[in-house]
Symmetry: C2
Subunit: 150 residues, 2 copies
């Protein structure tokens, strides 16, 4: 259940930049787009290794940076040590609700909040570039105990 489109975009980005489409990059990008979202780098590494066992984590870091630069992924830094990466889809921008117990991550989007942010920035003489908005709590219904996702 791989998603073909982003792969093509990545190949296009690479050749446009004079960069190479290597076995490793293919393995990493396929693993990334073929799996769940909000993946920590370590998990992307593990997934990519099932395709190309010799991949080192430095290569994963480097490739994820390329994906971010190409606009196909965004880096997330929640309240934990590691970075997570999320594919950029046609859905566009959204923020996150995070269960501090089981680690579940739910996306949300709210036009009213977005609009007020702009107003707040303007009122303080700022031009807004981006924002991050995370709501931490616990999911009440069927919150499984702490998962490996955390």
């Amino acid at each position: 259940m791989t998603t073909p489109a982003p792969m093509e975009q990545f190949r296009a980005y690479l050749s446009r930049e004079g960069l190479r489409y290597t076995r490793q990059r293919r393995a990493i990008v396929e693993a990334f787009f073929g799996s769940g979202e909000h993946l920590p780098l370590a998990e992307i590494h593990a997934l990519a290794r099932t395709r190309e066992p010799s991949i080192g984590f430095a290569t994963v870091y480097r490739t994820m940076k390329l994906l971010v630069r190409s606009g196909l992924a965004v880096e997330q830094r929640f309240d934990e040590g590691q970075s997570r990466y999320e594919p950029v889809t046609e859905r566009g921008h959204h923020d996150h609700l995070i269960c501090v117990r089981c680690g579940r991550i739910v996306e949300f989007e709210d036009g009213v909040i977005e609009a007020r942010q702009e107003a707040i920035a303007a009122r303080h003489g700022f031009r807004m570039f981006s924002h991050r908005h995370e709501i931490y709590g616990e999911c009440l219904e069927g919150c499984p105990e702490p998962s490996s996702e955390r």
Copy 2:
């Protein structure tokens, strides 16, 4: 221009917990409450050293953790490597607007956003514990070039 009240609260917290009020803790806490807000730990360390030159950074980390546990400070982790600490005042909760050019940090508070967050959490079956909301942009009027605060 030191603020006396939080110092007393900290002493009370320490004795309540059977902990000790040492020269180092006094220097750190005075430096912290007597200065600007949103201080990175390295800066608190430098300030405390002007009073007690032998203070090591491990002591600053340990003391700031006590301040957070006692409810007198909150730890902030913006999009940078280090943590910053902010005194908890009677003003209560607020979020931040951050200039990515000069590092200026402005606080804001918006009841509408707060209310919508609660609604969003509830709609997704979450009980909200906390949130973080940062708006990144650039301040238009008199934005000094990159400061050491960054």
